[in-house]
Symmetry: C2
Subunit: 306 residues, 2 copies
């Protein structure tokens, strides 16, 4: 929509401060529920090797250091922004975090990034071997399907969209391009490569809205917001690596991706604010989550909410 | 149900010959559709490394030697047996075969069974490396979620049941017990270990019926039939290994599991025939598929249908 042609009054961009103010009570109210649901998400069947159970709890951050949980919080915020009850989207939020965790466990494998550590502890395959880590990741995906499929009325649709998000044209395809290094080859491969990061954040925002019955045009707009936010997040992450490399006097040099990250984020926020039918409070929440997620200077606490 | 108390006339067990006769036209009619749907199931997004695409086609048996397809055929037969249109269950049948293929690709990995060959060709990880094989398997699962979730009316329920089948209390949990060798430890672990094989065959039969709206008691009975058939199949497979080992003068000795496999199969068939509301033709089809699947002497062709 060309803003010059719009007859509706333009909302004033609320700015980082008001957004951060809106976020604190939302996080206090919903983060404990997300953590509790994650802790209960993967009950261990009788007979399962106990090491696998312990590694699952650690991978999910139920024990040890938890993740920032920005994806599940965004899912709940999207549900609220479209006029729904965030609690109705809690199974979606949990499925999103389980799927994210599965992708981390797989990315760390010796045959992928070969990372020994994750969040300051041994990575999953260092605890249970690569075979155990693969089965754990697969089980996290399986449980996501159970949670999404069981949602009343929209379980089928959400399962199908989730499958698309982590499949060949989404996370798995992007990781395949990453693994083979073919993203240097051309635009299509580069675009697919981005989906390694953007497909799940797009699903996280969109599915929160779909779960509470948001109409498709709004869901589509939120999907784009989630995608752009995922991309801004990736660029901010790359900027951290760039800074570290520069400090150590190595790396590719050139310009830090931080400015590009900021540009992508501001564009994503501007378009999100223009979406029809979102509550002002919901817009503020999503803006605050987006700003903290991309780790910008106005939020020196970075990815901490409390 | 105690047969002595039943007032309904007992159906005469049709026997292997009539069952085999019923099967041939069913296979001629539906196997080409299964093969075509499998060939179309995993379209390659633009930008994907082409080696992954080729390995996917080979893993699915779309090129090279196809699998026996007994699981998807059973799905279609279950749909027909409960009075539905087998074609309405085709996406379920395809999802079942994709999930089965994903499990084979993962089982062959160096960190699992470390198998270099599958169906007489290089296993997937020998073609695209362990990382590529893992992403391929994950993509097969993702596509299964898409197919199941998109089914009208029952997509959510089928996605949820599918997640349960391949998760910690199903295939993945069973494989975890297998990997760690903890099945020797006790009954619960042994029962979980069996689900490595039985969870998917139970889902294959049950989901065919659910997809066409079969009532829950029938679906439950078919689930048990699928589970028992999967177990008979596993025992028949073990019997082949036992024979090979005996021929080479090694292996654990003792008695071949063949007799136990036959006993499990006949019990499964007897209970399946007693289920209410199945068409006589559907019962014959499922019996024929079950007998050929478990590879019994009366079907020297083994797992070939044509």
């Amino acid at each position: 929509m060309n803003p010059a042609l719009s007859l509706a009054p333009r909302p004033t961009p609320p700015g980082p401060d008001r957004a951060a103010e809106a976020l604190a009570p939302f996080v206090r109210r919903h983060l404990p529920g997300v953590e509790a649901a994650l802790a209960a998400a993967l009950p261990s069947p009788v007979g399962l090797p106990p090491t696998l159970d312990a590694a699952t709890r650690e991978a999910l951050g139920v024990e040890g250091r938890p993740g920032s949980r920005w994806r599940p919080l965004l899912t709940l915020a999207a549900a609220q922004a479209t006029g729904g009850d965030p609690l109705a989207a809690l199974p979606v939020a949990v499925a999103v975090e389980l799927t994210h965790t599965a992708s981390l466990v797989l990315d760390d494998l010796p045959s992928m990034d070969d990372a020994d550590q994750r969040r300051g502890r041994s990575s999953t395959h260092r605890q249970v071997g690569p075979g155990g880590a693969i089965l754990l990741a697969v089980s996290l995906l399986a449980r996501s399907a159970e949670l999404l499929g069981a949602l009343p009325a929209r379980g089928g649709r959400l399962s199908a969209e989730w499958g698309e998000a982590f499949g060949l044209s989404g996370m798995a395809g992007g990781q395949a391009v990453d693994l083979t290094g073919t993203f240097a080859g051309g635009g299509a491969a580069r675009r697919l490569h981005r989906r390694k990061t953007t497909a799940l954040s797009a699903f996280a925002v969109r599915a929160g809205a779909v779960a509470v019955g948001a109409p498709e045009p709004v869901a589509l707009g939120l999907s784009r917001f989630g995608r752009d936010l995922g991309w801004a997040y990736q660029l901010a992450d790359d900027a951290e690596d760039w800074k570290e490399d520069a400090r150590l006097g190595r790396g590719p040099g050139g310009r830090s991706p931080r400015r590009q990250s900021l540009r992508v984020l501001e564009g994503a926020l501007r378009r999100m604010r223009e979406l029809p039918g979102l509550s002002a409070q919901g817009v503020l929440l999503m803006e605050a989550l987006a700003r903290q997620t991309a780790g910008f200077p106005q939020n020196p606490g970075g990815r901490k909410w409390a």
